[in-house]
């Protein structure tokens, strides 16, 4: 992008100059919702502020009408519409009198994705989304996290790592697979190199760093197995919850009773899966997709509606052009209601089901958001499946939820909830 051109434009005080604006609609008028987030992000990155119009035309964006912005929109195939002053006034009036709000997007967050150096034979939906939307990020892994690098970033996404150190229990069926053996060797070497007795010990340390990151004001987003295992690792601070494959010792038979849920972010009072041969971690996951006798069928989940003016954070996280989204499996697909903490905010659930899909909460000075499932556009994802081609899903409502999380740390204020 002609960053220099944008930077020059940024030096103009756009908010006090009558600058023509572009509306980036996010309802069905938008050709490419996912790249629209990239447009908003990169405009911010160049120092140009924008606005996020919550609940207005699907959560649309308002950005200055500059030649470079139009050029980027055209190249990306993002629909933008010049909005005349009168129409803008009318829009603001509608926003003021409805369950809508305007949030100034002030600064593009710096993003880190906790992801292994060599991809295993499955992909990370967040990485796919960021790449497709052309939102830059830095890959970090155990070395960087243990070295204390997380505070360098505003927003961290966790790849579907198993923070309990049990390799997602893939040893049950993939023990002989070359990629699995490579992963085990890599993690064991890393543990040794970084001074940890075992992989579980290393991953617990990483989990603690992630927790500290949030406590000190960071924004965390996690999907799939990272959600459940992060909290299990945190709660099992001093408890052996791993089977012999991971650390050579069996799980503590009284592990359940010894879990310290006060350290966890989202969950409490969950029951651990005690069998190392059952491909589940605990009863946090409602669908238990990898346990045939327990596996629940997929339905659809409904995004909740929030008072945009009083609950802008939750509102930002659920902005979408669809209210009902088809569900999708993951190592952790959903979160049983019985294991949620009372302070957790439920952003989406499946009507009539004992689980929820999408939750958010605060911890210390920061916040976390968890989304169950692996890939919104690959509901039955299996190891070895080809990566989702997001150019075929430019309007994915599921992927919008991911990108909502990327953008919300850019909000100027962190408004208080009622």
């Amino acid at each position: 992008m002609a960053a220099a051109a944008l930077a020059r434009a940024a030096r103009v005080d756009l908010w006090h100059t009558a600058v023509p604006m572009l509306l980036v609609p996010m309802d069905d008028d938008q050709q490419n919702h996912l790249k629209a987030y990239g447009l908003a992000y990169n405009t911010l990155k160049a120092g140009i502020k924008g606005e996020w119009l919550l609940n207005y035309k699907g959560g649309s964006f308002l950005i200055p009408d500059l030649p470079e912005v139009r050029k980027r929109a055209a190249l990306a195939g993002v629909t933008v519409t010049p909005i005349a002053d009168a129409d803008l006034e009318a829009a603001r009036s509608e926003i003021a009198s409805s369950n809508m709000d305007s949030i100034v997007l002030e600064k593009a967050p710096t993003i880190a994705v906790y992801s292994p150096p060599k991809s295993p034979p499955w992909d990370d939906a967040v990485t796919l989304a960021l790449n497709y939307a052309e939102i830059p990020f830095t890959n970090v892994w155990d070395e960087q996290v243990v070295a204390g690098d997380l505070p360098k970033y505003d927003w961290v996404h966790l790849f579907h790592e198993d923070f309990t150190g049990q390799f997602n229990k893939l040893y049950i069926n993939s023990r002989g697979a070359p990629w699995f053996q490579e992963q085990v060797t890599r993690d064991q070497d890393a543990a040794k190199r970084l001074g940890f007795a075992s992989v579980p010990a290393l991953k617990k340390a990483v989990a603690e760093q992630v927790r500290a990151f949030v406590q000190h004001g960071g924004f965390l987003f996690a999907m799939c197995g990272a959600t459940e295992t992060l909290d299990l690792a945190l709660a099992a601070h001093d408890v052996d919850i791993d089977g012999p494959f991971s650390d050579g010792t069996p799980m503590d038979p009284n592990a359940d009773a010894k879990m310290d849920w006060s350290r966890a972010l989202a969950f409490q009072n969950a029951h651990l899966e005690t069998s190392p041969l059952v491909n589940a971690m605990s009863d946090i996951d409602g669908h238990q997709a990898n346990v045939p006798s327990r596996k629940q069928p997929l339905g659809a989940f409904t995004l909740f509606s929030f008072a945009a003016k009083f609950d802008p954070v939750a509102s930002m996280l659920v902005q979408n052009h669809r209210t009902v989204v088809p569900d999708f499996y993951g190592v952790t697909t959903s979160f049983t209601k019985a294991t949620l903490k009372s302070a957790d905010i439920i952003l989406a659930n499946e009507e009539g089901a004992p689980w929820v899909k999408y939750i958010h909460g605060d911890s210390g000075k920061g916040s976390w958001t968890f989304l169950g499932g692996h890939d919104p556009e690959d509901p039955q994802h299996a190891i070895g499946n080809p990566a989702t081609d997001l150019s075929l899903h430019p309007n994915s409502p599921g992927y919008r939820l991911i990108l909502n999380n990327v953008l919300f740390p850019a909000a100027k204020k962190k408004p208080l909830k009622t």
Partner: protein, 570 residues
């Protein structure tokens, strides 16, 4: 008398009625069930199958009939009590047990399906069928891990893995364990070569980095027909026709191998891999001891494939081979002559084609002769002798052939006549589309250089044709961008990006409003990308997107940008 006649009539009537009743009773419930099923009368079919079941006899056929019919009317759950009854009577019958698993699966009752499997195993502990059936079902349902555990259990229970090699092979493929799958399939096809196509189907999705390992498994000694058939099928699916034939051609040429070669030749032909198809048919010909007519037909199959691959010389050799089998003139005219004339024409040996036609003309019927004369005329065109082409057309009375006349006019540079005549052409070849586009675009009625360009194209001399099209762009100025784009496409097809780029550039820079301009931008970018100038390529594609936002090529340009960006960051 009257009373006797009445009695007789009554007797006849009685017999007729009795016969009709007998006919009505004749069809068994099972066949009545089949008949009703064929008619789509599901209720009656179900009733008859039930009747057949109660009557005993072919219970399996009755149960299978009920399974089909209940599925049609969404009453599969009605089958379950029936199955409970028949299974109670014959607990080891694999047909009933399989139907039960299928029914439960169709009803989405996974837990009950599992329970039914467990009962089957309990009742038939030494039978591999329940494990095999259930594992296959799990694979189809996308539950490979559970299938794996079932097969593992089967091997422990029955003490041998060989019974489940096919399922194991499929399972490994589903799990992305390509090497292990290939090894399992190798063991299967070595003893059951007919399963080669199943193995190819399972291994088709092997990602590129894993293919060498799969190849190594099937190429490992000993050379068996099954392994080589399997590898050939999968190589063909991967688009590696040459490697496919290399794998298969090295088996010992016994009758089974020759049959496999024949099948392979057909498969290659179906995929348009003509050169490989020719090689397969030629190999069969080399070892075949079939009678002359069959040998001749085989030679023609090989020759036809060669001609379609652009190898007219090999095609001609095959026609000579066919004639050398000693077939009679009538058969030669029917089977060999068409290919020989087409091959000679393709080689520009129109006089030889003409001579050959004359020699066999009396054995060919009128429509064949007309078709073959056209081919001879094309042969003259390809040798650049338009005058003789016209003579051949006139001599054969093909003056009314509008398409031929149109082409001859075009080759002579008579655009006006060509414009009228070619409008009625049938076969939409690439050359015809180009010609019609040009003729619609320009108002010029004569342009010798255009004629020369199309003659070169017909002769297959694309380099010369490209040069002529460029020259024509200076003469037929209202169609200049089209002519330049045509030349550029020819250079691109010849992988001559250095020659193509200046032409694309000229279209973009000098004819920015022409319909060819977006394509020029796209192809210019692709040429630059092939030359590793990624930045240059992206600037072309971005130019296309920004300058021609309504162009149908914009999505392609965006995909090129994405791909270039992706490869730049990987």
């Amino acid at each position: 008398m009257r009373s006797n006649k009445t009695l007789a009539a009554r007797a006849v009537l009685f017999v007729a009625i009795a016969t009709a009743q007998l006919h009505a009773q004749d069809p068994s419930p099972l066949s009545a069930g089949y008949d009703a099923e064929q008619r789509g009368d599901w209720a009656e079919a179900a009733a008859n199958y039930r009747k057949a079941l109660h009557a005993g006899g072919n219970t399996a056929a009755s149960v299978l009939g009920l399974e089909r019919v209940f599925a049609e009317i969404n009453h599969t759950d009605s089958l379950l009590p029936v199955l409970d009854t028949v299974i109670a009577e014959r607990p080891k019958d694999a047909v009933f047990r399989s139907v039960q698993l299928r029914a439960l699966r169709m009803l989405g009752r996974q837990d009950e399906e599992r329970a039914a499997f467990e009962r089957w195993v309990r009742d038939a502990p030494r039978d591999p069928t329940p494990y095999r059936d259930y594992a296959r079902a799990l694979l189809e349902e996308g539950r490979p891990q559970t299938a794996d555990s079932i097969l593992d259990r089967a091997q422990r229970a029955l003490g041998s893995g060989r019974e489940f090699l096919v399922e194991t092979a499929q399972l490994r493929a589903t799990m992305g364990l390509w090497d292990a799958s290939a090894r399992a399939w190798r063991t299967v096809v070595d003893s059951a070569p007919d399963l080669a196509s199943s193995s190819a189907y399972a291994l088709r999705p092997t990602p590129r980095p894993s293919r060498d390992k799969v190849r190594a498994v099937f190429l490992a000694p000993p050379v068996t027909l099954g392994a080589r058939r399997a590898l050939a099928s999968v190589e063909l699916a991967w688009g590696d026709a040459n490697d496919a034939w290399m794998a298969l051609s090295s088996v010992r040429p016994d009758s089974a191998a020759v049959a496999a070669w024949d099948e392979f030749g057909d498969a290659a032909s179906a995929q348009g891999e003509w050169r490989t198809a020719h090689d397969a048919f030629a190999a069969i010909l080399a070892v075949s001891h079939a009678p002359p007519p069959a040998l001749a037909r085989l030679a023609i199959r090989a020759g036809d494939a060669a001609l379609r691959a652009g190898d007219a010389l090999s095609a001609l050799a095959m026609t000579n081979r066919a004639l050398a089998t000693g077939i009679d003139s009538g058969t030669a005219a029917r089977v060999v002559l068409p290919l020989k004339i087409r091959a000679l024409s393709a080689l520009g040996r129109a006089s030889d084609a003409d001579f050959t036609l004359s020699a066999y003309a009396k054995f060919a019927d009128d429509s064949s002769r007309a078709r073959l004369t056209r081919d001879v005329a094309w042969g003259y065109v390809r040798s650049g002798d338009i005058a003789r082409a016209k003579t051949a057309v006139a001599a054969a009375g093909l003056g009314d052939d509008r398409e031929l006349a149109g082409w001859l006019a075009l080759y002579a540079g008579d655009l006006g006549s060509a414009r009228t005549a070619l409008r009625q052409a049938d076969a939409p070849t690439a050359d015809l589309v180009t010609a019609l586009a040009l003729l619609a675009r320009t108002r010029a009625d004569t342009a010798a250089v255009v004629g020369r360009a199309f003659v070169d194209l017909a002769r297959g001399d694309t380099a010369a044709a490209a040069t002529q099209f460029v020259a024509a762009s200076d003469v037929v100025r209202d169609a200049a961008p089209l002519l330049l784009a045509t030349a550029a496409r020819l250079h691109t097809a010849r992988r001559e990006d250095a020659e193509a780029i200046p032409l694309w550039k000229k279209v973009v820079e000098q004819y920015a409003d022409a319909p060819e301009a977006p394509e020029a931008d796209l192809e210019w970018g692709r040429a630059l990308a092939r030359g590793h100038d990624v930045q240059g390529a992206m600037s072309r594609w971005e130019h296309l997107i920004l300058t021609y936002p309504s162009s149908a090529l914009v999505p392609q340009a965006r995909r090129e940008v994405e791909a270039a960006r992706g490869s730049a960051t990987s």
